[in-house]
């Protein structure tokens, strides 16, 4: 006895065939979700006690990164400025600004400002700022154009594939050490050549390979060993 009409055959075939696509689509959606700014916070400004603007301070006033992030050249941790650093200037200028009240309050009471961490790696990753600075990785290579960020957000996904992108081919990103803190650094091109060791470079790969050699970068095998970042 025929329960189903013949036409159901087509439907079931289409369903079986379609299931592959549906599953693939779900998988794709999951992966995209995992990489989306919703999960990684890339490009999303986080709530902060005071609306500190890197654009104004670093870009507009031209304050060097290291004025606040003092330990970036010697330690794994770049350092978050103590309230005192803010007050170095703000005891003189904008002394009455309402936006700065949390800062003054912290200074008066001795209680720390509680910021929300922006560039937040998982706890099982042991990243070290000092060695990246030393090997010619620019601040904005990872942190983006901080000098154009009115409110701070993380520029990259901070996921492992993003780290490995550079660890597998560091020559793609390196720049001369004296350009590390330069927020306006342009990658070498015919329009913006970069001079290093008296030689002019118009191509990132050529510069990168020379820097890898000059800065004694460990081999790609070395810097992709697990214990480089995980321990």
């Amino acid at each position: 006895m025929q329960i189903f009409h013949r036409s159901t055959n087509t439907i079931s075939r289409a369903t079986i065939f379609g299931a592959i696509f549906i599953l693939a689509a779900v998988l794709w959606a999951c992966i995209q979700f995992q990489r989306s700014p919703y999960v990684t916070y890339a490009g999303v400004a986080r709530p902060q006690p005071a609306p500190f603007s890197h654009q104004h301070h670093a870009g507009g006033l031209g304050i060097d990164c290291r004025y606040c992030h003092t330990s970036v050249e010697v330690s794994s941790f770049a350092g978050i400025p103590p309230t005192k650093t803010c007050m170095n200037c703000h005891s003189q200028i904008w002394t009455g600004a309402a936006l700065l009240e949390p800062v003054r309050e912290s200074f008066r009471s001795g209680k720390s400002l509680v910021w929300n961490r922006v560039n937040d790696l998982p706890d099982f990753v042991y990243f070290n700022h000092s060695i990246h600075i030393n090997k010619g990785v620019g601040c904005n290579t990872c942190h983006g154009q901080v000098d154009r960020m009115p409110l701070m957000y993380n520029y990259a996904s901070m996921q492992m594939e993003w780290c490995l992108d550079c660890h597998r081919a560091p020559e793609k990103y390196l720049r001369p050490r004296d350009q590390v803190f330069n927020m306006r650094y342009e990658v070498p091109s015919t329009a913006t050549p970069v001079t290093f060791n008296g030689k002019e470079y118009k191509d990132q790969t050529a510069l990168g390979l020379d820097l890898v050699h000059q800065y004694k970068l460990r081999s790609v095998y070395d810097i992709t060993s697990c214990s480089t970042c995980h321990r």
Binding site: S75, K84, S112, L113, S227, H230, R231
Partner: protein
């Protein structure tokens, strides 16, 4: 294994503790029938028992991987199914917002992310261990020895290192209490002020202060100031493990209580009379271990050590000749030795073996006059110390290897008499104000004095206890003041040679506790004493110059005060050797400080509780140690319950059969059976203090032993993680005598498989030789003294959790580095060897190829990396590890919630969770930091990079470094002919290798 056997073993109980007893009859039969292994770790192994065979083939002991909790297997699977589904979901959660909290005013010298190191000192029973303490953002995280201090040379003993855990112990006393109610320092001051002024009127005749042994110059000054303020007050001293006999011996010999210390690097012959000087707790241990080990180089001028001792110790294990002897007989031996060396000491002929041993020692000592040393143990009676002084003088050792100085102890009284007098005064109603500064006399005072009862039943109006814990004594005092930890308070102390150090705090008291110094100064009449000012003022008096500030800064920076070591003293031997007392033949009982928890003060320290004791590898317990023959005579087996009776007092305990223990004698260790220690210590082990009355001292005879018929579970790691050596393979321990070594320097070498030998043809080998660095380690077993310092160092550095007794029994303990003890020869007097076993970092690592998720992989520098966040816990790796060095988090062993413990952890190492495999990584966090620093400075890493175990080794037995650099210390060690790999025939090519043992036996005693 036959099919029936497999079936049988399936039906057996999965818990090994219930069946892990050694069947002595079958063992005896087995020993008679077959030749056992040359080197053995446990008596089970010697007997080749079935249990042992099974243990050998297992990754973890039987039952370790079973779910034995109250949840049924089915229930567990159901839970797991649900949690798996949820775990999948958690992968999708986004990272929560994480706060970041900067300083308001950042301290100038601080670089966030980099540790700082401060010099300070830890004091145990009056003797200092000079330290360098690592501090992350002003949180002490690791304690190391001060490498520039002559008493440490970089090493710190287990107690000093583990005291870090005490600082963060959540069970520490956190407030002042009055009759159990929380109160304040102000209330205490008000309460005590009245009675103090009343006492002033009667010159303080009702004031009694009880302290432990004190060497702190400032504290002694304050206590003396108090005695001046109240001339009739009395200062009593008591500690259950003390050096009263040593002082009494010195008084008898020289008329004054001099301190003796030894220069072991100048000694060709070392004789120990029951002295465990190569283990933590012996004053000067770190330096002695270094000096002793320096003379164990077979290519140099090797020393020879004889040890006459009762309970087997790690010092005895290092001896070239060890004579097991009841502690009561040691005096007779010393007399024999003295007579033979021309000291008039009465008779001294010993029967049989001891006499032969004695003659050999005498000959050796005679031919090394001025370059030998005789060290008596502190628990031997004064007569033995007098004899030792006489012998050292007769041999011309004084001034060369034996140095006399003023005592380090600021108040060297007879401590047993001191506490007896105090209790007498208490019972006579003479005491109005009793101040107990540290110590726990209600628990550890001589039993017949019944100190607890004296506190309870006499009407002392004011009893004050200062202590780190709300312990047995605090319970019986109206006032309890919480004591500051030594890393929280200012103080000073003296090392074994008298060198003074300022004890510098690393953080403000976590709970606002007071130090002994501050309380003493308060009693001496100062209203708001600050420890810092007191110590500074004391040293300003010693150094009144205008340059005091510089002097003070230098003392703090260096960790010691220049020119404070006591001058060598010339003393005259009065030649009054006490008459001989005849040792009786009744069963002897020895009371010894515990190898892990000392006298009980570290009872709540989990690191120490779980630290396997050097010889028995016992954790969490203090069974009665008994020789194998005696146990047979009593029909006792390990873990059998016994009742000990001494002078009418009965105590229950369990037996542990210890190879090498002399017969007709048993040894118990003190410090266990605490009632109010805290979550780790309360209830662990047996309290043996009730047997120790004032006349008893450290050993006595006449104890009666009765089996109770009970079986008591004991958690010994002896025999767990035994490496399987195939029949015919070379043993894991390789040893030779000096003569054999001279004839055949390559004795430890074996033919190793060709490196290319592989089942995967065509696979290209990674060439480690091309790399800048190839990390490797060499461990000189000839130097290793088995002191366990490396284990605590590793635990502290790598955030290794403790698991508890029950889990140790199941073989789930987590130590990344273990120290295996191997025995060789006769059960009654075996030789013993120590072998520290970290991860071998095999170049052909068997663990890596079986990991299904790539959580363990090789780094280019030869490290066998472990990626915790990738591990899914299949345990295939540990199953495939022939060295059994991998540890699995069967449960959530790490404490993730207690806030204090979070502060203690090393921020450079992941804290592992349940279901994750972990193991030694050669301290990769230190390697990475050193590499980054060296690359920044554009230089190569040299020997300044040390692993935690290497750093803490007092004997300098562990060398780590770059094996691609032929000049590195590790390369030089590995190039020696004694170098060999464990299980080399497996072609794992381990990076950790060992240097074989070369003993220096006396040919006259070799038979």
């Amino acid at each position: 294994m036959k099919m029936e056997d497999i079936k049988k073993s399936h039906h057996e109980d999965v818990c090994p503790s219930k069946k892990g007893k050694l069947d002595l009859d079958s063992a005896r039969a087995h020993i008679a029938a077959v030749q056992g292994p040359e080197y053995w770790r446990s008596l089970e192994e010697l007997a080749g028992s079935e249990n042992f065979q099974e243990m050998l083939h297992r990754e973890f002991p039987k039952g370790a991987s079973e779910w034995l909790d109250t949840v049924s297997r089915r229930g567990f699977l159901r839970l797991m199914g649900a949690s798996l589904a949820l775990a999948g979901m958690t992968g999708c959660t986004k990272q929560p917002l994480e706060p970041i909290v900067p300083y308001v005013r950042q301290p100038e010298e601080l670089i966030p992310g980099r540790p700082m190191f401060y010099a300070t000192a830890f004091t145990l029973s009056g003797y200092a261990s000079p330290l360098l303490v690592e501090s992350h953002m002003f949180r002490p995280t690791k304690i190391e020895g001060n490498p520039e201090h002559a008493a440490s040379l970089g090493a710190a003993d287990i107690f000093a290192q583990a005291s870090l855990l005490d600082l963060y112990d959540p069970d520490r006393s956190q407030t002042i209490t009055n009759l159990g109610e929380v109160t304040t320092w102000g209330a205490f001051v008000n309460a005590i002020r009245g009675p103090l002024s009343t006492q002033k009127a009667v010159q303080g005749s009702g004031i009694r202060v009880l302290t432990q042994t004190i060497s702190s110059p400032t504290l002694a000054e304050q206590l003396r100031a108090m005695l001046q303020f109240y001339p009739q007050a009395k200062w009593h001293v008591y500690e259950p493990v003390n050096r009263t006999a040593v002082r009494a011996g010195a008084r008898m010999a020289f008329g004054q209580p001099v301190e003796t210390y030894y220069k072991l690097d100048a000694a060709d012959v070392v004789v120990s009379l029951d002295a465990d000087f190569l283990y933590a707790g012996f004053p000067g241990f770190a330096r002695y271990a270094r000096d002793f080990a320096k003379r164990r180089d077979p290519d140099g001028n090797m020393n020879r050590m004889y040890v006459v001792e009762c309970a087997p110790t790690s010092t005895g294990a290092k001896a070239d000749h060890r004579l097991p002897m009841r502690a009561v007989e040691v005096e007779e031996f010393a007399r024999g030795l003295a007579s033979a060396l021309g000291v008039n000491a009465g008779s001294g002929t010993l029967p049989g073996d001891p006499q032969k041993f004695l003659e050999a020692v005498v000959q050796d000592l005679k031919s090394h006059r001025g370059a030998s040393v005789l060290i008596p143990g502190e628990h031997q009676p004064p007569a033995v110390h007098v004899l030792a002084h006489a012998i050292n003088e007769a041999l011309g050792n004084v001034g060369r290897t034996v140095i006399y100085t003023d005592p380090v102890d600021a108040n060297p009284v007879d401590q047993a008499a001191s506490i007896k007098e105090l209790v007498g005064d208490m019972r006579a109603g003479k005491v109005d104000l009793l101040v107990i500064l540290g110590g726990n006399p209600a628990y550890d005072a001589p039993a017949d004095l019944n100190f607890a009862d004296a506190l309870k039943s006499t009407n002392i109006p004011l009893r004050v206890h200062l202590g780190m814990y709300q312990d047995e004594t605090a319970e019986l005092c109206q006032w309890h003041v919480h004591e500051a930890h030594f890393l929280e308070a200012w103080g000073d102390t003296r090392a074994y040679d008298g060198t003074a150090s300022v004890v510098q705090p690393l953080l403000a008291p976590l709970y606002g506790g007071k130090s002994q110094l501050e309380v003493a100064a308060f009693l001496a009449g100062q209203s708001e004493p600050s420890g810092h000012d007191l110590v500074r003022a004391h040293w300003q008096k010693q150094h009144p110059g205008a340059d005091f500030e510089g002097f003070w800064r230098k003392a703090l920076h260096n960790g010691w005060i220049d020119n404070t070591a006591f001058a060598q003293k010339t003393v005259k031997f009065t030649n009054s050797i006490p008459p001989a007392t005849k040792a009786d033949d009744k069963v002897e009982i020895n009371f010894r400080r515990d190898a892990s928890i000392y006298d009980g003060r570290f009872a709540n320290n989990g690191w120490l509780q779980e630290l396997p004791k050097p010889m028995s590898k016992m954790t969490w317990d203090n069974p009665v140690l008994m020789g194998p023959k005696m146990a047979e005579a009593y029909k006792l087996q390990s873990k059998d319950g016994v009742e000990l009776e001494l002078n009418g007092v009965k105590v229950r305990s369990a037996v542990w059969i210890q190879a090498g223990h002399p017969d007709n004698s048993i040894t118990v260790t003190l410090g266990y059976g605490r009632r109010r220690a805290g979550r780790a210590g309360t209830g662990a082990g047996f309290d043996l203090y009730p047997l120790r009355a004032s006349g008893v001292g450290d050993f006595t005879t006449g104890v009666q032993i009765r089996a109770t018929g009970e079986v008591y579970p004991l958690a010994s790691t002896q025999g767990e993680q035994t490496m399987d050596t195939p029949t015919g393979a070379r043993p894991l321990v390789r040893a030779a005598s000096l003569d054999e070594y001279k004839k055949e320097p390559e004795f430890a070498k074996e033919e190793e498989p060709e490196p290319e030998l592989t089942l995967y043809p065509g696979q290209k080998e990674f060439n480690y030789k091309q790399e800048t660095y190839a990390w490797g380690m060499a461990i000189d077993m000839n130097k290793c003294v088995g002191c366990n310092s490396c284990m605590i160092a590793c635990q502290s550095e790598n955030n290794v959790p403790i698991v508890g007794k029950e889990q140790v029994i199941r073989g789930r303990h987590m130590h990344w580095l273990r120290v295996d003890a191997y025995y060789q020869g006769d059960r009654a007097a075996p030789r013993a060897y120590f072998q520290p076993v970290p991860c071998m970092q095999c170049e052909n690592a068997p663990c890596e190829v079986v990991c299904p998720v790539g959580a363990t992989a090789h780094s280019t520098e030869g490290l066998n990396d472990m990626v915790y966040n990738r591990c899914v816990g299949t345990r295939y790796c540990s199953n495939n590890c022939p060295y059994k060095v991998r540890r699995f988090n069967f449960l959530l062993f790490q404490d993730w919630t207690t806030p204090q413990l979070k502060m203690m952890r090393n921020p450079d190492v992941s804290v592992r969770s349940r279901g994750v495999m972990e193991k030694c990584t050669y301290c990769v966090q230190r390697i990475n930091q050193a590499r980054i620093d060296s690359e920044r400075e554009n230089k190569l890493i040299g020997d300044e990079l040390q692993t935690a175990c290497q750093q803490s080794c007092p004997a300098d037995a562990i060398k780590f470094g770059n094996i691609n650099d032929p000049a590195s210390a590790v390369s030089r060690l590995k190039s020696q002919s004694r170098n060999y790999s464990l299980l080399a025939d497996l072609n794992t090519r381990p990076r950790t290798t060992y240097l074989a043992v070369v003993g220096n036996p006396n040919p006259e005693l070799e038979s």
